[in-house]
Symmetry: C2
Subunit: 642 residues, 2 copies
Amino acid sequence: MNRPKMQSVPLKNIKICDNFWNRYTNLVHKEIIPYQWAILNDQLEDVAPTHCLENFRIAAGEAEGCYQGAIFQDSDVAKWLEAVAYSLETHPDPELEKLADETIELIERAQQPDGYLNTYFTIKEPDLRWKNLREGHELYTAGHFIEAGVAYYNATGKRRLLNIVCRMADLICSLFGEDGQHIDGYPGHPEIELALVKLYRATGEKKYLRTASYFIERRGKEPNCFVEESKKPGYRRIFLENNEYDPYYAQNHLPVRQQESAEGHAVRAVYLYSGMADVAYETGDDSLLEACKRLWNNIVNKRMYINGSIGSSAYLERFTVDYDLPNDSGYSETCASIGLALFGLRMAQITGEAHYFDQVELALYNTVTAGIGLDGKSFFYVNPLEVWPENCIPNTSRSHVKPVRQKWFGVACCPPNIARTLASLGQYIYATKDNTLFLNLFVGNQATVSLDSGELKVRVDSRFPWEDTINIETESETGCMMGIRIPSYVHRFKIAVNGDSVQYTMKNGYVMVPVVQGKSRIDLSFSIKPRLVYPNELIRACAGQVAIMRGPLLYCIEEMDNPTPLSSLIIDKNTSFTEQWDSALGGMITIFADGWRESSPKGAGLYHEMPCKREATRLKFVPYCFWCNRDPGEMRVWIRAL
Amino acid sequence: MNRPKMQSVPLKNIKICDNFWNRYTNLVHKEIIPYQWAILNDQLEDVAPTHCLENFRIAAGEAEGCYQGAIFQDSDVAKWLEAVAYSLETHPDPELEKLADETIELIERAQQPDGYLNTYFTIKEPDLRWKNLREGHELYTAGHFIEAGVAYYNATGKRRLLNIVCRMADLICSLFGEDGQHIDGYPGHPEIELALVKLYRATGEKKYLRTASYFIERRGKEPNCFVEESKKPGYRRIFLENNEYDPYYAQNHLPVRQQESAEGHAVRAVYLYSGMADVAYETGDDSLLEACKRLWNNIVNKRMYINGSIGSSAYLERFTVDYDLPNDSGYSETCASIGLALFGLRMAQITGEAHYFDQVELALYNTVTAGIGLDGKSFFYVNPLEVWPENCIPNTSRSHVKPVRQKWFGVACCPPNIARTLASLGQYIYATKDNTLFLNLFVGNQATVSLDSGELKVRVDSRFPWEDTINIETESETGCMMGIRIPSYVHRFKIAVNGDSVQYTMKNGYVMVPVVQGKSRIDLSFSIKPRLVYPNELIRACAGQVAIMRGPLLYCIEEMDNPTPLSSLIIDKNTSFTEQWDSALGGMITIFADGWRESSPKGAGLYHEMPCKREATRLKFVPYCFWCNRDPGEMRVWIRAL
């Protein structure tokens, strides 16, 4: 039996007004959605055609031509629609809604009579439908459409896309099963699981939850579905053809309940775990939830970069082993950090424990934001902690690392994923349960919240993460509770209600404050100063180095502010930090520290016997999320320290 | 017009008797040649079948079946025969010679009537002959056969293999040319160039030199031959099919004379440059020699690891950019160091300058030797400077790094290449010119040398690299000169003749000593102590670290001698070193140094704010070439230093 969990507050009830986040969230409707629409429609001259909507026109019989693009190209359209839905909730825009409605109509016309929806298989490989689940991405793409359908219905009340995805979901539920009469399998790339739970929640249709549960339970059990399908007539490789089969890659090396460590393709992993958490909650399955906790702990305690990114191997974009976190060659895909945030959000809401938000906040404030340029039109797929532009050259082991953000990608999962994440940032800010409103992120906003005891209007005013006072104004119908998350980097805080300090209790990482009927004001203050962060000694790649953080923000040094090579710079561990407000990039706090620059003696060869010289220098740090928004060049998070 | 160059002394005239090298050279006839013969014949149960000789039987019409193995599988047989030839010169063995003769007869039967010799194309792709030079490896394989043919003729006086390879070479010379009537192209993998010069030298047939010169001059000029061949009817990809074409990969991005930096696949590069040096010498072409010098300088001053290995990117096994030398993920192929030694040998002999041997010695004493286990039956293809076995897992970006030597490889270029290199070590020791014998490597040996002035018997007695006195006994018919190389790590030396210090001159890095008629004795002594070596500040991967060398030997720390993680260890730059003789592995000098181990505070998480503890510890270093010959585990060359 499931215990009620925390719920996000509907996006339409939250208006974000935040110094840090508005530079991103304002981009969504102004820049990102129109820009991505142009790309989906091949309207930009300097971006290679994506063929995304053209594939739908061809599948609908309204255009001639061949399918073009990655096997999961449809999902970019789905993620764009999902972002549009979230945007419409907070920024109504009739023209955009019309565009979305027309796109949905096109999708409907591309849907097959039996409900099947996937332009790759419809146009190019109709005989391969459901035959290569390991690589086909049909269930993955379906999952993104389902998420879009639910989001669009929630935002607009319109059912057309919801009906489309229900027909596809009905088809999937009718096709899959373990009884020998159905297709016995699960997706190579998880996503359908969490999507089907969303659809179950939106429609109440239990078969969606059952099928999500089946996909999760079947995974990793013998006989291995991917091995079995490869023996069937008509099977053919269709993606990454040269790779040998590695069950870790798609997390089907063991039944999910037995998995102890996060393995394989990082995005697949966190999407799977998110679906597992959803199913565990809806079915009240504690042992499945325990597996989720184990996997979360393995990630955040042993396999996560300090910027909240995951995936240490560029080859297969995957987890490797505990403490293997190379700074200059890891993968750290933006989508994987988005998935980590989705997973953490679910775990926090199910368990009611605030600590999950330490990593959610890390991923959102650092990697998701680094993944998009402040122009809204350029993106990082890979988010390394150390970049030396000269060695990021094509056709080498370093070619996945880009020293500047790219306009778009051949496999373009990240840009629309960032768009939908920014557009739905509100879901992370609050959670409600019973008579309590929980504040998870210190994002400035105004919200109207329904609690069991009645409506609560709340306004969060802060200049976080730059400043460390959070002012919360409340207006409660009946009185209620407020739980405010105290992040791990806050060691001491003060809290006052209407100017008076109060008795408070701590519960699961939240400071619990009673909110009286009528108007009231809560002031939370703590101290966020720059801090030195040391790596665990088992992270070989970081030995002898430290990083600088300030609140949730990771800092880095960039070539335009510091002498190169950045590897020659050493920070004095006893430095006092100086903070300075810099109006660049929409405003940021920069940090200065004392240190040295070490240099080879003049005329030294490649290797030499003469000791190095060391001269004092001042190091300038900027927030990692903003890196490469000014002059491109070397960047480094971990700095040698003495 | 070419000026006479230094010549190597025939192997049959040198008997190596050396504390360091005999542990390897004795393996050649006792272990390596029989072991590799068994592998070529698929006789070992625990090594995957190579099908090497079976391919020849099939091509000869004496067995049924399909071709199996890499496209250049034949070259393993050729390199084995070349190693056998060198071995027979120094260790006559009638049984082995009979086996070689039978193999040569089989090769002859597999040769086609027109002289064509390549079992892959003969059996599997007869229609693709010469159609895909970029990937086909036909000219590469032919080059290795030619080298074997010349070596076997020199060793035994038998012409059968020489005749076979002359027929193949004649075919090649008749087919290729730039006049529009012939195939206009050059090999994707250089090797034929240096081989054809060897064949020219063995036979005096000038067309071999002309064709070698054509291959070199044509390379990199427009129109690009690899692009042109790909447009021709019948063209098909046959190797690394998924890779896009990168002209740098096979060094045809520019005409060779215009190339300023070592680019692309490292083995291909140094084989090409060796062929360029040969042609430059034989044709007296100074501008081609200048290109060789530029490329050599680029490698050794900017793109070479401290162990004399090259190739920074595992993907495409290639050079990247200056100072990009990652320690834990580079390629550093054993074959590339062999090629570097071959290139340096040529440059030293042509220019008469000893400094080329600094890197030849480095490659031979460190990487070539590390490439083979002291059992003679296990091999490293990749020679990293930092290994953490736990993260060397399959299907990741680190899967090319093996934490223990492998029995054999799918692409098995390195083991037979090591065999032929060890079997021909003698070619590196001496060089003669006019009336002078030059000693390049301090390898204990006895030799009989023909100089213009008559015969010189010489005996080098030393315990180098462990000890630093070299005793040379000479017996000269008429009196002559001896030039002894003074390595770059020798800053001061003493030299005495018959016990008396002598006036000497230095020339091109050699100390020149007159050798009187009759018996005489030269004593060279210098001091080889452990030394700290600093990396150039531009090598980002080595910042803050130092390496220990002693004479030509690079040292490393291994897990079995030191606490882990090795990244937590710090050497005191002011340490005094203690040397200790260790009888393990045939005897070696181990080095102890003072330092510290830095550890995270107890219970520290992945990232923490508590400073690390540092406690004094003693570090134990062993020669890098011997690493992983005891218990496997972590290994590290560059050590953090304070």
